[in-house]
Amino acid sequence: MDLKFTREQESFRQEVIDFCHQNMEKRYTPEYAQAFREKISQKRWPGLSIPEKYGGLGRGAIHRVIFMEETSYLRAPIVHYDYGVTISLLGNMLLRHGTEEQKREYLPLIANGTIHCGQGYSEPEAGNDLANIRTLAIRQDDHFIVNGQKMWVHDARVYKYSLIMARTDPQSEREHGLILLLMDNKSQGVTVIPQLAMNRQFTPQVFLDNVVVPVSNLIGEQGKGWQYYNELKPFYWNKEQGAEIGMIRRLFDDAILYLKDWQQHTTTRFQHELIKQKMAEAMVDINVLRHMVYRMAWMEEQGIDLFEISAKLRVFHVETWLKFTGILTSILGREGILESGAAEAALNGMMSRLYPAAALQLMQRAGPSYIKNIISTEILGMPKPW
């Protein structure tokens, strides 16, 4: 066992930090963000774990996590989800089941951040119970005709593609007869309806009305969509690992700085002690998370099965993030719920945004209840309740 990062990994981490310091600006504008992302694309960092022969940098999962962690910690103007979902779903799907043509066509564009692909899995009647999907993709010669409705397809408004899970055999039930199609979001018949969510983001619903998708956009074999989805569950559950720890570490460090100062205002010594205890607890949780994220990345590089660790990581992350944002908001009192703009707002109004946004963890990608069921039945081998 050797838990030190290699010299190469350490110097890459420094490279990312230096890059951010050189290219980040104090004030956010869409133009600056766009320019920053283009520079990231030029470096092909979204392709850190994509093989070189497909346009990536072929450096591995740990590098990818380092990139996500440090850019997230420094609050670089990138949307980690954009890369996370594209790489972990489409990227991995193509690497495992894409044709050589598909790999050569799409992987380089993923690696240089040109294209993003969201997930088109869930439907109104298929949330945790994904096998209940109804979207049909009927084969006709050299294309599929797709009809149905998908939910939580982030972000079909701006991404080029969505990975659609559909039923190709109308007679099939549940997990059988499913396929994965790479669908251009601008295809005729695609209607994207954005819905405002509690994290102040717009999450699209997508209506598919006789959408034509060429057969060349089918990934893998017909009927095996569920199998592919299952294989990639670890990535589906933990799309932006690295970014998530960067974020929580940064919030923790900012909070410590604020609280060190704020202790002057804490009215009783008891409150001090309690705050110290709570921050110490949070630090313990963060350490666990960071260890697990890097262990999972190492396992990915080693080709070790990720199912168990990713399920446990997902539960641990959700509970930690919710607990920490909740406790921190509470510690900060009324100053903590103020939005940014007021001088009195703690942490520049961060918690007024993060506390509600954190609730997304409760149901995103299968809520913790569902994953706990999976841990109990599929990992611990306890009898299935139904």
Binding site: G127, H265, S330, G336, I337, E344, W386
Partner: protein, 374 residues
């Protein structure tokens, strides 16, 4: 011993619930939270017509002559509806304070005005870095010039200060021991030297920052230097009032969650049939029972004029933990649809947290409880 509610109280619950269900739907709340005032004036007028604003004022001041128990059941219904309004600051904090500390003439004038909905009064006490219950550190001063007082200082977290007709401002007159040397002053809106800025929160609080610069006061409430006892008591009544709101809100969240779980089918069955979710819901039900017990006990003690500060802390410490937790469990069970802004739950989710941190979170109140044990 009698745990029952009176017939009038039961009727108040039913009627308030019906009215608010109709008049205060989530769509209205979303709309008013985005508007300048932060609450619905027309609904406020209806509330005054229904006698809600004067519920606990004696009839000689245009009130309904009700007691704090009556108020507590009404507050639960308001919390159930997540109603955004100046009720707490105007009726409870300002109104009950005036009732306790004001002169007869002030009560006649100001309480009638509050009850009729004609005037909204907001209490300005909090300052940066101070504890509402320990005014020692307070820096706002009331300087005497000729025959009047002039207030200088900055108050924060003043609800609805940008539309209120009057402020009741807590200020230090002379540097004396801690809570002596304080006075409470009525200031008319738009008086010279006032600057009001909205402090937007993630909740529905409509807090403001109010800067006073040599602002002349209209009148003094209570005897200078001797107001703290009455004001402190009012603040503690507000703690109990907040608990009532939070209990009502938590119950609504549970009701929504159970309803959803009965109809949402996944894996071929309603998700409410799944054990883990059932346990979460039953945890919520038990917690709500506990929250309500403690809250009603504190409210009863207020209504019969027994000491109640410790009981208020006991109640607030529990609801501060469980109301937000109920919103989280509720959101986990109701899933993605309840995370969307067009669903009612986000309103409760944010409101629960905002109320948790108002007037002391769980840690704050547990310390008070602990102190009372030594």
């Amino acid at each position: 011993m009698d745990f029952s509610l009176s017939e009038e109280q039961k009727m108040l619950i039913t009627s308030a619930r019906d009215i608010l269900q109709r008049e205060c739907p989530p769509s209205l709340i979303r709309q008013v939270l985005n508007e300048t005032k932060g609450y619905s004036t027309s609904l406020w007028e209806k509330m005054s017509a229904l006698g809600w604003l004067g519920l606990v004022f004696p009839s000689e001041y245009n009130g309904g002559g009700g007691n704090f128990m009556d108020l507590s059941v009404l507050l639960q219904e308001m919390g159930r509806a997540a109603l955004p309004s100046p009720f707490f600051t105007s009726v409870i904090m300002s109104g009950l304070y005036i009732l306790d500390a004001g002169s007869r003439e002030q009560k006649e004038r100001l309480l009638s005005g509050i009850a009729s909905g004609e005037i909204v009064i907001t209490l300005a006490i909090s300052e940066k870095g101070t504890d509402d219950f320990k005014p020692d550190d307070m820096k706002t001063v009331a300087a005497v010039d000729q025959d009047n007082y002039y207030i200088t200082g900055t108050k924060i977290f003043v609800p609805y200060a940008d539309s209120a007709d009057y402020f009741i401002c807590l200020a230090r007159i002379f540097n004396d021991d801690k809570d002596k040397g304080l006075g409470t002053f009525v200031i008319k809106k738009d008086s010279p030297g006032i600057k009001v800025d909205l402090l937007k929160t993630m909740g529905s609080d409509h807090y403001c920052r109010v800067e006073f610069k040599e602002t002349p006061v209209q009148e003094v409430i209570g005897t200078e230097g001797q107001i703290w006892h009455a004001l402190e008591k009012t603040l503690w009544k507000n703690v109990v009032a907040l608990c009532c709101d939070m209990v009502g809100g938590a119950q609504k969240v549970l009701d929504m969650t159970v309803e959803y779980s009965k109809s949402r089918v996944q894996f071929g069955r309603p998700i409410g049939s799944m054990q883990a979710l059932q346990h979460h819901c039953s945890d919520m039900a038990v917690a709500i029972e506990a929250m309500q017990s403690l809250t009603l006990e504190a409210a009863w003690r207020v209504s019969v004029d027994l000491p109640f500060y410790t009981e208020a802390s006991i109640a607030k410490s529990l609801v501060s933990e469980w109301y937000p937790r109920c919103t989280q469990l509720g959101m986990m069970i109701q899933g993605g649809v309840s995370f969307m802004e067009d669903h009612a739950l986000p309103l409760y989710y944010r409101r629960a947290k905002a109320l948790e941190v108002a007037f002391g979170n769980s840690d704050y109140h547990r310390e008070i409880i602990a102190e009372s044990l030594i």
